[in-house]
Symmetry: C2
Subunit: 136 residues, 2 copies
């Protein structure tokens, strides 16, 4: 038991030390993470001014979180950053997903939950642009 107790104390101390090290770091070098495949979709609405349609689409995209191969998902709307020529703010809803590999992304494409989303929500959008990236 004494040895076990020492182990707990050591583990806890090590965890605390690593937490302090991470938060004290003023800046960091680039590091890859465990979900290298990024799928970012931008939707333009048929009724661009409709908050109701926008919110319906947001709710629809959020149902995709149930798909097992999506490791992380973020649903977005246009942020009120500075207007600049290079910034495209003409879209309405974005869907940002992370996968462990290309197979996970392919599984998502034909997943029943995704097909149900398309069936229920595709009447809301006029245009879609997709960007598929992999960590460099």
């Amino acid at each position: 038991m004494k040895s076990n107790r020492r182990k707990f104390i050591t583990t806890t101390a090590a965890l605390a030390a690593s937490t302090i090290a991470a938060s004290a770091m003023p800046s960091s070098d680039y590091q890859k993470d465990e979900f290298p495949v990024v799928h970012h979709v931008f939707f333009w609405l048929k009724n661009p001014g409709s908050i109701e349609d926008r919110d319906k689409l947001v709710a629809g995209v959020k149902t995709l979180a149930k798909i097992e191969t999506i490791k992380k998902i973020k649903v977005g709307v246009v942020a009120s950053t500075e207007k600049r020529d290079v910034v495209d703010n003409s879209w309405a809803v974005s869907e940002l997903m992370f996968f462990s590999d290309l197979a996970g992304q392919a599984t998502y494409q034909t997943h029943p939950v995704h097909l149900e989303f398309i069936k229920n929500c595709s009447h809301l959008w006029e245009k879609v642009i997709v960007y598929d990236a992999v960590d460099a």
Copy 2:
């Protein structure tokens, strides 16, 4: 000491239980995370076929990780997903960043490390499109 030991044991058991719960979950509901501001930039190269220029730009974007207000950064190249009409794969390098708030994104825009990156790398790209999103 006995009370401390009990605390260590309880904490460790709680950590273990939460880890098991998370990994056993077959699917999940949508959850927001702590970095709601997403800044996604796509670069088109002046020399689209140049792997050397692409790699220079990738290395340049990675230096941005040192900016304190960038909570997470992913640098990408085009993924070899299925070719579809909606997928834009004409770009070369992507820069995906997460911020805690809009102020953090504004700080990044004028940060010396960012200005240095533009000075060193802007000759490499011909076109840039930026998407700024906030969690819905």
